[in-house]
C-alpha cells in the first residue's frame, strides 16, 4: 500500500480570547493519498479553514497548535519558518476564496508568477516568463502573451482566480489546498474555474484538499470527503459512501437541507433544527446532540469516537450509525 502524502494526527487548534479559550479544531486526524481529492465540508465555524491554515503554518502566534502533520516525511507542525518556506509554494500550494488577498496589486500577474517560479527553481528570467505565459494558457486565460503583463485589477474576478491557480501550479506542487475556490464566483464562471482546477490537477497529478460548504462542488470533484462539525470530523469516507450510504445524522441533515436542481416536485426541505454550538461552551456528550433527531440517553454521556462503518474506510462519529443508515435507505434524497 502506498504511504499517505499528508498524514494529520490529533491536530488541535485553540485561540485565546477574553471570553475564554476557543478550540476551533479538536483532535483532527486524516490522511491524503497522492493524487486524490479530499473534500473538507462544513458550515461556518466548523474548523475547516483553520485546519488548513494550521498545516501551512499560517495561523497567528496567539493560536496554540498541537498534534502532528507529516507531509512527505517531514513534520509541518512546529517546523521553523525557513523549512516551511521551502515547502510552501513549492510542494504545497494554496488557492484562496478571494484572489485579491493572494495577489499583490502593484505587481503584474506575470512578475508574481515569475517570482513564484524563480524562488524555488534555478531558471533564467526569460525561461520563467515563458513558463508563466504557458501557465496562463493552461488555465484558459485568453491572449496570455498580452495578459501576462497586466495588473490584477485589469483582470476580471474569474480571470484572477485562474491566475491564482496558475501561480499555485507553477512549481507542480504535490499538494494543492483550495479554500472555497469558487464561492465568490457566478455560476457560469464557477463552472469554468472548476474545469480549470480539474484540468490542472489532472496535468500535474497533484493531490488536493478542497475546503467548501457546497455539496454540489464536492459531488463533482472529490474522491473522498471529511464532514466537519464543531471542530471535529463527523463522517469520513469515499464520495459515494457519504452521499448514498450516509452514516451520520449531521451529514444526513446537510443533504436534506439543500434543494435539488432537478427535483420536479418540491417536497418541504428537512432542515437541521437549531444552530451550531458555541465553541467556547460545547454541549455535554456529542456536540451535535441538541440538534439531532436520533439522539438518545447515551449521547448525553461522552462524545462518540469516529467509528468504522461496515469495517471499511467509511467512518462516522455517532452512536446510532445503524439507525441513520436505515433512515437514509428509506429517504428519497
Amino acid at each position: 500500500m502506498t504511504a499517505p502524502l499528508l498524514s494529520v494526527k490529533d491536530l488541535s487548534v485553540t485561540f485565546r480570547s477574553d471570553d475564554g479559550d476557543l478550540t476551533a479544531v479538536r483532535g483532527m486526524s486524516f490522511d491524503v493519498m497522492p493524487g486524490e481529492v479530499l473534500a473538507v465540508v462544513g458550515e461556518s465555524g466548523s474548523g475547516k479553514s483553520v485546519t488548513s491554515l494550521a498545516i501551512m503554518g499560517l495561523l497567528p502566534r496567539s493560536a496554540r497548535v498541537s498534534g502532528s502533520a507529516m507531509f512527505d516525511g517531514r513534520e509541518l507542525i512546529g517546523a521553523d519558518l525557513k523549512q516551511l518556506r521551502k515547502i510552501r509554494g513549492k510542494d504545497i500550494a494554496m488557492i484562496f476564496q478571494d484572489p485579491m488577498t493572494a495577489l499583490n496589486p502593484v505587481f503584474t500577474i506575470g512578475s508574481q508568477i515569475v517570482e513564484a517560479i524563480t524562488l524555488h527553481n534555478d531558471m533564467s528570467d526569460k525561461a520563467a516568463w515563458e513558463r508563466a505565459t504557458e501557465l496562463l494558457n493552461l488555465v484558459g486565460i485568453p491572449d496570455p502573451k498580452r495578459r501576462v503583463k497586466l495588473y490584477p485589477h485589469e483582470y476580471s474576478g474569474g480571470m484572477r482566480q485562474r491566475a491564482m491557480i496558475a501561480m499555485a501550479m507553477a512549481n507542480e506542487p504535490k499538494l494543492l489546498i483550495a479554500d472555497e475556490p469558487t464561492t465568490a464566483l457566478d455560476v457560469t464562471i464557477q463552472a469554468q474555474v472548476l474545469q480549470v482546477i480539474r484540468k490542472a490537477q489532472a496535468v500535474t497529478g497533484a493531490a488536493m484538499v478542497l475546503i467548501t460548504h457546497d455539496l454540489g462542488v464536492v459531488a463533482g470533484l472529490a474522491d473522498r470527503v471529511n464532514v466537519m462539525y464543531a471542530g471535529a470530523v463527523f463522517e469520513s469516507g469515499d464520495i459515494d459512501d457519504i452521499f448514498y450510504r450516509t452514516a451520520n445524522p449531521y451529514t444526513l441533515g446537510l443533504l436534506g437541507s439543500i434543494p435539488i436542481l432537478t427535483a420536479r416536485v418540491s417536497d418541504k426541505l428537512t432542515p437541521i433544527p437549531g444552530a451550531p454550538p458555541n465553541l467556547r461552551r460545547l454541549p455535554e456528550g456529542c456536540p451535535f446532540r441538541p440538534r439531532c433527531v436520533f439522539a438518545t440517553e447515551v449521547c448525553h454521556g461522552s462524545e462518540p469516537d469516529l467509528m468504522a462503518v461496515n469495517g471499511g474506510r467509511h467512518r462516522s462519529r455517532c452512536y446510532h450509525i445503524d439507525k441513520v443508515a436505515e433512515a437514509r435507505a428509506g429517504s428519497t434524497v
Binding site: M159, A219, L261, R264, I272
Partner: protein
Amino acid sequence: MTQPILEVNDLKTHFPIRQGLFRRQTGTVLAVDGVTLYVDPHETLGVVGESGCGKTTLGRSILRLIEPTAGTVTYRGESVTGADKDRMRQLRKEMQIVFQDPYASLNPRMPVRDIIAEPLRIHGMDRKEANDRVGALLGKVGMMADHGNRYPHEFSGGQRQRIGIARALVLDPSLIILDEPVSALDVSIQAQVINLLEEIQDEFGLSFVFIAHDLSVVRHISDRVAVMYLGQVVELADRNQLYETPAHPYTSSLLSAVPVADPNAERERKRILLEGDLPSPANPPSGCRFHTRCPIAQDVCRVDPPELREVSAGHWAACHFPTGPGDSLINQVQRLGRDLRLVEAREH
C-alpha cells in the same frame, strides 16, 4: 381571470456615469432595461441571474427605493410609478422588502421589538397594540417573545433574517420582495428560513418576488421564474418548463453550470461552458445582448435584438433560435458544427 397583484411594464432604471472635474455624464449603466412581468396573488415569481444582471435594481425599482427612469409599475391596478408621496407611503404598507444582509439591514442600537414595531408607529399604532403585535409575530417567525428585548448583535445570521421577515410582515402586506434572503446563511439555516417563508406565504396569502442567484433554491420556492441577463428578462416560464425545457441558450448554460449534489449525476453530466465574462451593462453588446457568449449565435443575433415572445403557452423567451423539447442546446450546437465545448463533468 384574476387580476395580477403586481404588473411591471417596460421598466427601465438607468444610472448616469459621471467623471471628471465637472462631473459630466460620460455614459449610462442600463441596470434595468425594459422589463415586463406580472405577479399573481399568492404566487412566487423567482428572478435569477448572475451579478450585474439587474435583479436587485429591479426589486428596488418596483418599490421605488430607486426611482425608475421609465416604464410603469402597477399594484392591484393602481399606478405605483405615478403615486405621490403620501399615496406611496400607503402603498409601501402593502409592498415590503427583505434584504440579503441581515447584519446591515437591522439598526444595531435598537432592541428587536422596536425594530419590528417601527413601521407600526410610523403608521400611527399605539405602543401597547404594537407590542402585542410584535410578540405575536416573533412567535410566527420561530422566535421567543422575550427575544424582543435584545439587540441584533445577540442573534445569529438565521435569527436576524427571521427578524427581518417579522419586520416585513408587521404591516400585513400582500407582496414581499425577497432580495437574496438566504444567500448569506449556512445551508442548514438556509433550509429553515426557506421553510419559514413558505409557511408564512400560506398563512398570510402573500405574493413573493424571490430574487436569487441560486437556481436550485429558486426552483424549489417559485411558481414561475424569470431569467435576467444584462438588465433584461431573457426567459420567463412556469418553473418546471423553464428547468426542464429551457428555450434560451443562456438559461440552458446557467442550468448546465450548476453543480448538483449527486455524484452519479455529476459523472454523467455534459456541460456547455460559456466562454468569457459578463459584458458591462454600461456598454451592452449590439443586437442580442447574449450573442458574445452564445454558442449558437448567428449573424442576425449581432444586429437584431430579439423580442420576448411566447414560444409555447405561458413560456416566453427572447431568442431568435429558441431551443425546445427534443432540441436541446447541445443538439443545436452540434447541428451548427460549432466548436463543442462540452466536457464530461469528471474523469472516471
